[in-house]
Structure formats: structure tokens, C-alpha cells
């Protein structure tokens, strides 16, 4: 699900490859927790940690940068400074998996715990998140 992580402009940045339009409600339902329970509030923060202030890269490219860059991978290489092969593979992923998106975000953007603190605290956490948010047959 975490497609790529790297440093950009002195900040850690992530690119997620996820199924499009997963709402917080759907996420909490899939995790089988009530919105107002303790687990629900915790997982709500986890959700924000993934999705808060993310940029849908393909949308951004299409609306604002398609005249500037000849292809989506060129946009990823030049605007987001991704290594060439990562950018090309990113474009392939979207072609192969319809209804998925590449989302970009900076770490610490909400002010809450960072992604690693939430997901790496136990081995299973990332797997659970993958099963909910990730793209099947990929990880």
C-alpha cells in the first residue's frame, strides 16, 4: 500500500497506492469498530494519518500539469522528484489497476503521530491496513 517513501524538501513524503474513495465510515465499518468507541477513535486517527491532506497525483496532473508534462510518469519524475523507474512503475500501476489512485502526502501533516508510529507498532497492523486500503494481489 505504501508505494514509495522518500525525502522531498527536507520532509519525509509517502506515496500510497490505494483503492479510490474509501471513506472514513467505510474504513471503520471494515475494521468492525464503532465510530465513537475507543478503537473507533484510534482508527479514525489512523485513517487521517493516511488520508488527511493527501494529493491525488493523477488528478493533479490532469487538471493542472498535463500541458506542462508530456506524460504522468514525467510529471512524477520532474514535479515530485521520483526516481525514473519508480515514476514509470507508478504510471503502470494505475493502468493495471483501475479504480485505484496514487496519493501523495507529507509526514506530520496533521500534527498527530506519524504513519510509522501507528503502523509499525505491531507487525500485524500494516497487514490489516493493507487488507482494507491496499490494492489486491499487489502486496
Amino acid at each position: 500500500m505504501i508505494y514509495y517513501e522518500y525525502k522531498k524538501d527536507h520532509n519525509k513524503a509517502y506515496i500510497f497506492h490505494v483503492v479510490k474513495n474509501i471513506s472514513k465510515g467505510r474504513f471503520l465499518r471494515t475494521m468492525r469498530v464503532g465510530r465513537n468507541s475507543f478503537a473507533g477513535r484510534l482508527l479514525s486517527r489512523v485513517y487521517d494519518c493516511f488520508f488527511s491532506e493527501t494529493v491525488d497525483l493523477l488528478d493533479e496532473y490532469r487538471v493542472y500539469h498535463s500541458s506542462e508534462y508530456g506524460s504522468f510518469s514525467e510529471f512524477l519524475q520532474k514535479k515530485y522528484c521520483l526516481p525514473d523507474e519508480v515514476a514509470v512503475e507508478g504510471e503502470d500501476k494505475l493502468l493495471k489497476h483501475k479504480n485505484t489512485a496514487l496519493l501523495w502526502r507529507k509526514e506530520h501533516v496533521t500534527g498527530d503521530y506519524n504513519l510509522e508510529m501507528f503502523t509499525m507498532s505491531s507487525d500485524g497492523a500494516l497487514n490489516i491496513l493493507n487488507s482494507v486500503l491496499g490494492v489486491r494481489n499487489e502486496n
Partner: protein, 743 residues
């Protein structure tokens, strides 16, 4: 005709006839005009359209030419800009506000202060929340301004809420403040109409501006006129407007320029961008006031936006008039356009430079790569000096040769353009002479150079601005320098090279005593010139063997002994002689520390006798054979025990031994069986220390593929005078034969 009846009719209806005639006289021209009007309008429109298309074409070709000028002068390397920070994004917002206003709205709609509000909820009454804004559906000046007002209200309200938050709390979410600052910065760019980019010399302002123009403005068909400070001279307060009008429209009518701007911007739903890059490059004293008047005039057209770039200290000193002008509130300054590059970005830029200069390469040694990417000015010099060549593997950068080649290219380039004019030589010589005479190593007064060289100031300014050799600075006018302008070298290594060159080739032949005095006083370990000048003097003494005197004077210096080996191994191999190799052998035997340094340098870098014909790994063979057991244990085996030679750990030092083994592998594959570097396998294998397993494997591979060569190496040492190596050769023959081999 019945005239009486007509007369009677007229006399009875005189009034009606008169009224009828008057009406006819009035209505007919009106009707005629009504019929003509659309034709005239269409004709006028077509004429204006034709005129606008002509201006549009002229503008496009003008801007493209301006970019090409910078490509030719190499101030702009196409495709080399890496967007490491938000500066270029800010410029997008500024140049195409109608489009990027929506991107800003996306940005602000994404802003999430949920966590901030939850942490600080108890301490404050209000919450931080941006309302969801609708995007600009029909971009126009009117809708854009209305949207700006709406955004401004929301940002101001939320910023005020955040500012009122108490920061005492330990868990105050500092990200909230940072996010708000980022949003405000973006908004300020969006609403301002004059953007000033400020940074020091050589930071890539021109590269950024050209990249923005070529890759963004022209591709999005935003009308843009690109000028350089140096384009403007002989100005008065109104002539700048006329000059710009002439360049853009080909005529002198400012009104037609304004009409064109209105027409283009309404049609394309964009703004008109005027860029003036490098304000500091204009030598016209009236430029600041002319620019001030020009900006004032241009901003009367609501579609116009202006970008200026300048060296920071020049702007602060010379363009105060702009900072206090009536349009000052419309100005936004961005100081510093660069950020530190991440490793992958450095690598990207490194490859782009080499590709732009059409350099084919196979390998860069780690230390060379590090040196080049840690200073992109040096990388630039390296690329210019090697452009269009296939350079193979670069294990060393010979700075003396590099700078000499670079200087030669610059000098020849200027001579070629100016029919043999040697102005750059004169300027460099005077700058360096002043530095040596005054014992200063920067800030040479411009006036001194003008007086001594008798070259026109404008020519000197052009030379300085077109070459990365020099940097023009302004010193405090309250100081001793009346002119206020000074020249320095952009890069300390170049300065040191040029000073050393002047000392060895001009001062020493002219005045030996003065030369010696300078060396004794200034080329001392604690002085700033020491590292560079001592090194380049050493290189020059090795390159030009006729400079016996130089060699003798240097050898008397206190630092000579300590620096000798370091400098020798940095000297281009073609400049070394047998005498130098013999000296290295003596140094090797003189101490364990020196032996370690020599071994490390030979084994890690100088293992290829084809590349390093004079001083290479083969130098060690007779030395090792001639050594006593105690000496060998101390000066060779002890070195191999060290972790340096481990081939398993990933340290850079250790990786270099891998290069030797890789090289051996290539030799064996290429059947270069007479290569003497192969013999060193015997010595590593004999030591039975780290690295010996790989060496034995290589020997075994050699034995399998080229049995005669492998045996010849081992038999050679079976018959040598050293008992230890004799025995090791016997044992190794038996060990190598049954092995399967492979590296």
C-alpha cells in the same frame, strides 16, 4: 407631365414634403451607416486580429531567442532544473493565477485542522476551519478578484484564531502554524503583481527563470516577454517603456501593446508576464528609476504581472526606489531559491549535467563523484572541460589539468568571439596581481582593474557576468572603496589555481625574492590560501620540469615533508617520473604510517597499469620481494589485517578493493593476460589475511582459463630471492590447481 397639377399638389402639401425631405436626408445616412457598421466592425476586428497575431508571433520568437541566448551562454541548461522546493510552484501560481487559483482552492479545501482543534479545543473558543470553497468556473479578472476577497477573509480569520492560541501547552501542534504559514505564503504569491526573486550569485536564478518560461509559460501559451538586465542601457524614465514596446510589438505605440495584452489575456484567460532577469547586470545608472517608472506604467493594465530577479545585496542597495514606490504593496520578495539537495536529487542532477554536455562515461570513483556533487560549480567546470568526449572511468580529478583546460576554453572562446581579444587574460592577471600585492584574497576594487587594464567598464562587466570565474559584489560605500563595486573569484579552488599560476609563471621569473617572501608569509598551514596554493604550486612544479627553482624553493618549506605524498598521489600520472616513483619507494620504507598511506592509495585507486602508467600497484612487487620478514609483517601484512581490505562490509574504503578484484575479473575475461596487475593477486593470496580467499579464487580462475599465465606468475616467485614468497608460491600452486575458481 401635368405641371399645374404638380404645382397645385406641392402648394397644398408643402409642409409634408419638407418634413418628408428632412426625414429622408436624416434617415438614409443612418440606414446606410447601419448597414455599413457591421462590415466596418468586422474589418476592424480582422485588422486588429491580424495585428495581434503579428505581435504574438514576434513576442514568441523574441522570448525564444532570449532563452536560446542563455542556452548558448550555458547559463541555462535545458531540462536540468530539479523542483526540490516550492519556488517554481509559487511561480506557477503567480504566472497563471486564473488556473492556479483553483489549485489553491484545492489546497485550502484539503487543509485539515481536526487534530489541532481536538488538542486545543479546551483552551480556545473558536475552531480553525476553512469553509469549502467553490472553484473558479469562469475565470476572469472580475471573478478572480471576487474569489481573492473571499479567500482573504477566511485566511485572515483562521490565522487570527491560530495566533490567539496559547503556545504554553507542550503538545501544541506546531504543524498547524507551519501549515497556516504555507497557505498564507501561497496566497500572497497568488495575489501579488510583482515578484522579486533574490539570491546570491551562481544560485541558478537564470536557470529557474528560463526553465519556467520554456517549460511552463510557453507550453501553457501564457504570453510572456523575457528580458535581461543587461538588455537595458542608455535609459531615461520613459525610454524603458518604449524599448519594451518596440521589442514586443515591433512598433512604438504603447497603446497597441496594451490593446494586445487585453486581447490576448481575455482570449486565453491568462495574465501577461514580463520577466526581467538579473537586474544587477545592467550597468546603466538610470536603470532603477527607469524600471520604477516602467513598472508603474505597466501595472496600470490589470492583466500585467512582473517577475524580477536580482542578486540580493544589489537589490537592497540599488533598487530602494522600487521598494518605496506607490505599487510597493503589490510587490512580493522571495529570498533564496535553493534548498539542500537530497542524495537521489544530486544523482539526477549529476546525470543531467553529463548528458547536457554530451559526456559519455563508464564509472566515477566514489570520492570523485562525492567531490563533484558536493560542489555543482566544480561539476559545471568539469563538464565544460570534458564536453563532447568519452571519458571512460574517472578515478581521479586532476584539478590543475581541469582548470587549465577550462581556462583555455574560456580564453579561446572569448578570443574567437572578439577577434583575438585577450581581455579575460588581462582582467584575471590584474585581479590576481592585486590579490598577491595586497595580500587580500577577495574584493578587488573594480576601479583598480579598469585603470590597470585600460579596458572599458562595460566590457569588464560583460566578462564578469558571462563567466563563472568571477563574482561582482558591492561593498559598503562608507568603506575605503569609492566605487563600491569589487571583484572576487566565485570558487576558492579557481582562485588558488590562478594565484599559484601567477606566482610560478609570472612572479617567480620576475622577482624570486618577492615570490619566496609571499610563499613564506602566506602559504602556511594556518592561512586560507595554504591548502589550494601549495597544492597547485606542487602540481605546476611536477608538470613543468624546467621549473627546478620552484621545486627547490618548495622543498625548503616546512609543510613539504608532510604534504609531499598526498600531493604526489593527486598529481596527474603523466607528470610523474621514475624519480618520483623511487622517492615513493623510499617513503614507503621510511615508516609504517607512510607505507599504509601508499598501500591504500595504490591498491584502492592505482591498480590499473594502463591508466596509471608511471605510479601504480606494480611498484610494490620489487619492494615486497626485497623486504625482510619483520618489515613485511609491519608494513604490508599489518595493513591487510586491517578492516580496509575486507570485501564483505559495505564501507566505501572497502568497496574500493572490490574495484581491484572487478578489474582483475575483467582482465581475465578480456584475455589481457600480460597485464602486470595480475601479479598482485599472488601477494594478497600469500598474506593469508582478509582478501586472500578472493585473490586465490581469482588465481584459480586464471589458472583454469589461462594456465600458462597463472603458472608463470607463481613460478616467477618460486624463483625469487625471498624465502617467504618462494615458499608461498610453492604452496599456492598446490592450492590453486584443485580449486574450482571464480570471483
Amino acid at each position: 407631365m401635368d405641371w399645374p397639377a404638380v404645382k397645385q399638389y406641392v402648394s397644398q402639401n408643402t409642409a409634408a414634403i419638407v418634413v418628408g425631405l428632412i426625414i429622408t436626408l436624416l434617415v438614409v445616412p443612418f440606414l446606410k451607416g447601419l448597414v455599413k457598421w457591421p462590415f466596418n466592425y468586422i474589418r476592424e476586428c480582422l485588422k486588429r486580429r491580424k495585428q495581434n497575431i503579428a505581435i504574438q508571433k514576434k513576442l514568441l520568437s523574441f522570448t525564444q531567442d532570449q532563452i536560446q541566448k542563455q542556452i548558448n551562454s550555458r547559463k541555462y541548461l535545458p531540462d536540468s532544473y530539479i523542483e526540490i522546493n516550492q519556488v517554481k510552484e509559487g511561480l506557477r501560481y503567480f504566472c497563471h493565477p486564473f488556473l492556479f487559483c483553483n489549485k489553491f482552492i484545492d489546497h485550502i479545501n484539503r487543509r485539515d485542522f481536526t487534530y489541532t482543534n481536538s488538542v486545543l479545543g479546551k483552551e480556545i473558543q473558536q475552531r480553525i476551519a476553512f469553509k469549502v470553497f467553490r472553484k473558479l468556473a469562469r475565470p476572469s479578472l472580475k471573478t478572480f478578484k471576487a474569489k481573492l476577497g473571499e479567500l482573504n477573509l477566511s485566511i485572515t480569520r483562521n490565522a487570527a484564531v491560530l495566533n490567539n492560541m496559547p503556545e504554553k501547552s507542550n503538545d501544541f501542534p506546531w504543524q498547524a502554524r507551519w501549515k497556516m504559514e504555507e497557505t498564507i505564503a501561497k496566497f500572497n504569491v497568488l495575489k501579488s503583481r510583482v515578484l522579486v526573486l533574490l539570491d546570491d550569485a551562481g544560485q541558478g536564478k537564470t536557470n529557474l527563470i528560463c526553465d519556467l518560461t520554456k517549460e511552463f509559460l510557453l507550453k501553457l501559451e501564457v504570453p510572456v516577454a523575457l528580458f535581461y538586465g543587461g538588455d537595458f542601457y542608455g535609459l531615461n524614465n520613459s525610454s524603458m517603456k518604449a524599448f519594451v514596446t518596440e521589442r514586443i510589438t515591433g512598433g512604438t505605440d504603447f497603446d497597441s501593446l496594451n490593446k494586445f495584452i487585453d486581447y490576448e489575456c481575455r482570449r486565453r484567460k491568462t495574465n501577461f508576464i514580463i520577466i526581467i532577469d538579473a537586474l544587477n547586470e545592467s550597468s546603466d545608472p538610470n536603470f532603477p528609476s527607469a524600471l520604477n517608472a516602467f513598472i508603474g506604467d505597466m501595472l496600470l493594465n490589470p492583466f500585467v504581472r512582473i517577475i524580477l530577479t536580482c542578486r540580493t545585496e544589489y537589490y537592497d542597495l540599488n533598487f530602494k526606489v522600487i521598494q518605496t514606490a506607490s505599487f510597493a504593496p503589490e510587490i512580493l520578495k522571495i529570498k533564496g531559491i535553493n534548498s539542500k539537495l537530497e542524495e537521489h536529487e544530486k544523482d539526477k542532477l549529476f546525470r543531467k549535467y553529463l548528458s547536457f554536455f554530451n559526456i559519455e562515461w563508464k564509472l566515477f570513483a566514489g570520492r570523485v563523484y562525492e567531490k563533484l556533487v558536493s560542489n555543482f560549480l566544480l561539476l559545471r567546470i568539469f563538464c565544460e572541460a570534458h564536453q563532447g568526449r568519452s571519458i571512460g572511468s574517472i578515478l581521479n580529478v586532476y584539478m590543475l589539468d581541469l582548470f587549465q583546460e577550462y581556462y583555455r576554453q574560456i580564453r579561446d572562446g572569448i578570443k574567437g568571439k572578439t577577434n583575438g581579444n585577450d581581455s579575460i587574460q588581462k582582467v584575471i592577471r590584474e585581479v590576481v596581481k592585486y590579490m598577491v600585492d595586497s595580500r587580500l584574497h577577495k574584493d578587488v576594487p573594480m576601479q583598480v582593474v579598469i585603470d590597470k587594464t585600460a579596458i572599458d567598464k562595460n566590457v569588464i562587466l560583460k566578462l564578469i557576468d558571462e563567466n563563472i570565474f568571477f563574482r561582482r559584489d558591492v561593498v559598503d560605500k562608507t568603506g575605503v572603496l569609492l566605487d563600491g563595486e569589487v571583484i572576487s573569484f566565485t570558487f576558492d579552488e579557481i582562485r588558488d589555481f590562478l594565484i599559484a599560476d601567477y606566482l610560478a609563471n609570472v612572479l617567480l621569473p620576475e622577482d624570486e625574492q618577492k615570490f619566496t617572501q609571499f610563499i613564506t608569509d602566506e602559504v602556511l598551514p594556518q592561512k586560507p590560501l595554504f591548502e589550494g596554493v601549495s597544492k597547485y604550486l606542487f602540481f605546476i612544479s611536477k608538470k613543468d620540469r624546467s621549473k627546478q627553482k620552484l621545486n627547490q624553493i618548495l622543498a625548503k618549506m616546512g609543510w613539504w615533508e608532510e604534504k609531499y605524498l598526498h600531493y604526489l598521489f593527486e598529481t596527474n600520472d603523466v607528470d610523474l617520473t621514475d624519480q618520483d616513483v623511487e622517492q615513493v619507494k623510499r617513503e614507503f620504507l621510511s615508516s609504517k604510517e607512510k607505507a599504509e598511506f601508499i598501500l591504500k592509495t595504490l591498491i584502492y585507486y592505482r591498480y590499473d597499469p594502463n591508466t596509471y602508467k608511471n605510479l601504480n600497484i606494480t611498484m610494490l612487487f620489487p619492494l615486497l620481494i626485497g623486504m625482510s620478514d619483520a618489515d613485511r609483517l609491519q608494513k604490508f601484512d599489518a595493513f591487510l589485517i586491517k578492516r580496509h581490505l575486507s570485501t564483505y562490509s559495505g564501507r566505501d574504503d572497502e568497496m574500493r578493493l572490490e574495484h581491484y578484484f572487478e578489474y582483475i575479473n575483467e582482465i581475465i575475461k578480456a584475455k589481457d593476460i600480460n597485464n602486470p596487475a595480475l601479479e598482485f593477486l599472488f601477494f594478497i593470496a600469500s598474506a593469508e589475511k582478509t582478501g586472500s580467499v578472493t585473490a586465490k579464487n581469482s588465481l584459480s580462475l586464471l589458472y583454469r582459463e589461462h594456465q600458462v599465465t597463472a603458472l608463470a606468475i607463481l613460478e616467477k616467485y618460486q624463483n625469487c630471492n625471498n624465502e617467504y614468497y618462494k615458499n608461498r608460491a610453492h604452496t599456492l600452486i598446490n592450492e590453486v590447481k584443485p580449486m574450482r575458481g571464480g570471483v
